[in-house]
């Protein structure tokens, strides 16, 4: 695994607070760093605030009536909180949103082309990239002419990732890529993430529920709970941590336990109430 301490920090989030609708406080001081060329995982249960963190970074909160009220976000040392989303995309940060969000009425290929919107690259370069996306996701090539609204969940997920790649990003914020995908595909998509990271040098900030897989592929991890970071460290260490093992990986000392044995079991202790 890459040693993260020495590499340059691309993205730095320090102590941000996010409030929705002026009244709902969701993030209560989250800090994290994304190093250049690394895969950083953001883990945590439902409603922990992973999506909110990513949206805060990519400035998509505004349209959901949310706002960052405290703290700061820096990208390459530049304060980016006040930038518009497209300015951020131009700087190389792009988000793949949770729940796919393809443009339903556009074809798969048109969807991909919108990814190149901010680029002023030549037609040739864009079609070369399109080719690249198709090599990563051959399934998309088959369905290039279908309306995205009618493709299956997995195909939409690929389309969303492919679309992000078309902007030639430096950092991708990936929100729950594994949700609803078949196990084989999950492996495949994470494989592609690793490939992109290794070959094209793209950095990733990855929000995931599927701790197991995420920690297998990531270099560094943060665990978020009720809007606070409760644990961080190199992925390796997290995987070894007994608490993480029990709560997030579902394995105890006796090995993986069957879902049938959960019968009379109640919620266990939490780090934070």
């Amino acid at each position: 695994m890459v040693e993260t301490a020495e590499t340059e920090t691309l993205l730095e989030v320090s102590n941000i607070e996010v409030i929705y609708n002026h009244v709902i406080l969701v993030l209560k001081g989250v800090s994290l760093k994304v190093p250049k060329g690394g895969i950083t995982a953001l883990l945590g249960g439902n409603g922990a605030g992973k999506t909110t963190t990513l949206k805060a970074i990519s400035n998509l909160l505004h349209s959901e009536r949310g706002a960052v009220t405290k703290g700061s976000i820096h990208y390459r040392g530049e304060r980016v909180q006040e930038l518009s989303p497209e300015a951020l995309v131009k700087r190389g940060v792009i988000q793949v949103m949770e729940g796919r969000h393809c443009f339903e009425h556009l074809t798969i290929e048109e969807n991909l082309m919108t990814g190149a919107y901010t680029r002023s690259a030549s037609k040739g370069a864009v079609s070369a990239d399109l080719e690249m996306v198709y090599t990563y996701f051959p399934r998309l090539r088959e369905r290039r002419k279908s309306q995205a609204g009618y493709t299956s969940g997995g195909e939409q997920q690929m389309c969303a990732i492919g679309r992000a790649l078309m902007s030639r990003p430096e950092t991708i914020l990936l929100d729950e890529p594994s949700m609803g995908l078949a196990p084989q595909l999950v492996e495949e998509i994470f494989g592609i993430v690793r490939d992109l990271n290794a070959r094209e040098g793209v950095s990733f900030l990855l929000a995931e529920q599927n701790t197991n897989v995420a920690l297998r592929f990531a270099h560094h991890g943060y665990i978020l709970e009720s809007g606070r970071v409760v644990m961080e460290g190199p992925a390796q260490d997290l995987r070894e941590n007994p608490d993480v093992k029990e709560f997030y990986l579902g394995v105890s000392d006796e090995g993986r336990k069957s879902f049938r044995d959960v019968r009379s079991y109640r919620r266990r202790k939490r780090w934070l109430a």
Partner: protein, 358 residues
């Protein structure tokens, strides 16, 4: 904690599903009713009745009706004017055909007739959704207006095609016609408002209301969990039209006294009532009242301000009034897209949290 719900415990489910679960709200509600019924009738004068209170009450009924269809069942309708016309012409035909029957009965019957017509025009809603439906309801709007304008039977063959309300009574007191006392006008409208608000509240808190809301929020899912979209949508159209029909009947018989269909029940009326629902808050009965009050008072207030206080020429004021109404509507929608009712809710929430901001 200026406003509390803690400590206000419910011991039965019935108590929990009452209209105002919080005691404070309940008291305020009774107080408003008492003033409306016991104080205002004795102090009301012609100006207040005709320029403010009677239109406010009638529009409230219409707004409640439309709110049931649009706010609760999610079917946008621009046919309100047309349906009000059905109510008006029904009550006119009934009044002239059966002069001795009480107006209360005529108005309710007009409501039922409108409900039937409304349900018929609701049929396309099974196939057509969203704005397509909204525009389709314009077919009802234009067709009904044309029909009442064209078929002489509806206006009793009068030379001009207008209808005018003869004097009719409730329990010996005139409620229509030129000689009606303002208090009588006010009280008959108040009676129907109270009735309609009560019915609407009962319908929306039980299973019928939940069917409507399910259809509104996601019609496919609603159908899959067992809501028959046909009956749900048609019942919403019927109930909504029932209220709108009553509003139309009162509007013609009690408020205007004479009506030319294209003018009084044109498309502008449909927009106006829809505005009331939206500014007040979709899916809220309180909102219907708030919206009606807002849009009845706004022009009056602007006129008082512009002409009477500032002394501008009335044409400039009329133009400025358009500008102001338009700007205020946009401003409101930007400030609070969910209407006055939501503002009220947020205010209550703030009070509850007070002195903490969140």
């Amino acid at each position: 904690m200026l406003y509390r719900e803690a400590g206000d415990f419910k011991t039965t489910y019935a108590a929990d599903s009452q209209t105002f679960p919080i005691a404070f709200d309940r008291w305020r509600y009774w107080a408003v009713l008492a003033v409306a019924w016991l104080v205002i009738p004795f102090v009301i004068d012609d100006y207040w009745a005709n320029a403010i209170l009677v239109p406010f009450l009638i529009y409230s009924i219409a707004a409640i009706g439309l709110n049931i269809l649009t706010g609760y069942c999610g079917q946008v309708s621009l046919g309100t004017g047309g349906f009000m016309a059905v109510g008006a012409y029904s009550v006119y035909k009934l009044m002239t055909a059966f002069p001795d029957v009480s107006m209360l009965i005529h108005v309710v019957l007009a409501g039922f007739i409108t409900a039937a017509v409304g349900a018929a025009f609701g049929l396309p809603s099974l196939r057509i959704k969203g704005f397509y439906l909204a525009v389709a309801t314009l077919a009802a709007q234009f067709f009904l207006v044309w029909l009442f304008n064209k078929v002489p039977w509806f206006y009793n063959y009068s030379a001009s095609g207008q209808i005018s309300a003869p004097e009719r009574f409730v329990g010996g007191i005139a409620v229509t016609g030129a000689g009606t006392a303002p208090a009588a006008q006010y009280l008959i409208c108040l009676f129907f408002v109270t009735l309609c608000a009560l019915l609407a509240r009962n319908l929306t808190r039980g299973s019928v209301g939940r069917k409507w809301m399910a259809i509104r929020d996601m019609d496919i899912a609603a159908e899959i969990i067992g809501v028959n979209p046909l009956t749900a949508k048609l019942s919403a159209f019927a109930v909504s039209s029932f209220f709108i029909g009553i509003a139309g009947a009162l509007f013609f018989a009690v408020y205007l006294g004479a009506v030319e269909v294209g003018e009084a029940f044109g498309i502008q009326k449909s927009f106006l009532v829809l505005f009331m629902c939206i500014i007040g808050g979709l899916g809220s009965i309180f909102g219907s009242f708030a919206g009606a009050a807002f849009l009845v008072l706004l022009p009056v207030a602007l006129k008082v301000l512009g002409v009477d206080l500032l002394g501008w020429p009335s044409s400039t004021v009329a133009h400025l009034q358009l500008v102001a109404v338009g700007a205020l509507i946009m401003f409101f929608l930007i400030k609070e897209p969910h209407g006055l009712a939501q503002l009220w809710r947020i205010a209550k929430e703030k009070l509850r949290l007070w002195p903490f901001p969140y």
